[in-house]
Amino acid sequence: QQQVKQSPQSLIVQKGGISIINCAYENTAFDYFPWYQQFPGKGPALLIAIRPDVSEKKEGRFTISFNKSAKQFSLHIMDSQPGDSATYFCAANPRGNQFYFGTGTSLTVIP
């Protein structure tokens, strides 16, 4: 059973547009929600993360929105650039325990 459900599977955005990737979870014990970016042939790189005591976190062009009551969180990439083209994974874990990853979203930013 997939602990973290991620959508869409793939996304195509024009340069300068906003990319939005969504994730949902069921386990209320989860209390850390990171997003990872992975380029082909590379390991995942931590982009940004949030804890459920805040509803939004912004770092540069990347923003996480978190809805605790709906058990959903999303990644927004503002002013998307061709260099942002990669696979993005959401993840979640209960403190001190294993991470559960989503199935990934392949983002393509068209120049």
Partner: protein, 114 residues
């Protein structure tokens, strides 16, 4: 400062063989986790090592085993390889006292089982 390093980069084995993958954590990190990433999927947690002991384990059979050395480096061993073991194997390290909240991944080892 070197990040997480893994060796080898690629590996080809045949069914039934055994394989050992290696990981050196980021400097200052003492916890190592291993993940299996099948093509087109997210990483799946195999196990985590802390203070040379297996601290947590995911839903993987006993054919998957590991070890952590006093310098915090780690090995992943897989016995009796199956075709389904073909995947990218990722190592992630965490700094002291962070448990699994902050993880930095290595580039992975691509294992192909023929």
């Amino acid at each position: 400062d070197a990040g997480v390093t893994q060796s080898p980069t690629h590996l080809i084995k045949t069914r039934g063989q055994q394989v050992t993958l290696r990981c050196s954590p980021k400097s200052g990190h003492d916890t190592v986790s291993w993940y299996q990433q099948a093509l087109g999927q997210g990483p799946q947690f195999i196990f985590q090592y802390y203070e040379e002991e297996e601290r947590q384990r995911g839903n993987f059979p006993d054919r998957f085993s590991g070890h952590q050395f006093p310098n915090y480096s780690s090995e992943l061993n897989v016995n009796a390889l199956l075709l389904g073991d073909s995947a990218l194997y990722l190592c992630a390290s965490s700094p002291p006292l962070a448990f699994t909240d902050t993880q930095y991944f290595g580039p992975g080892t691509r294992l192909t089982v023929l």
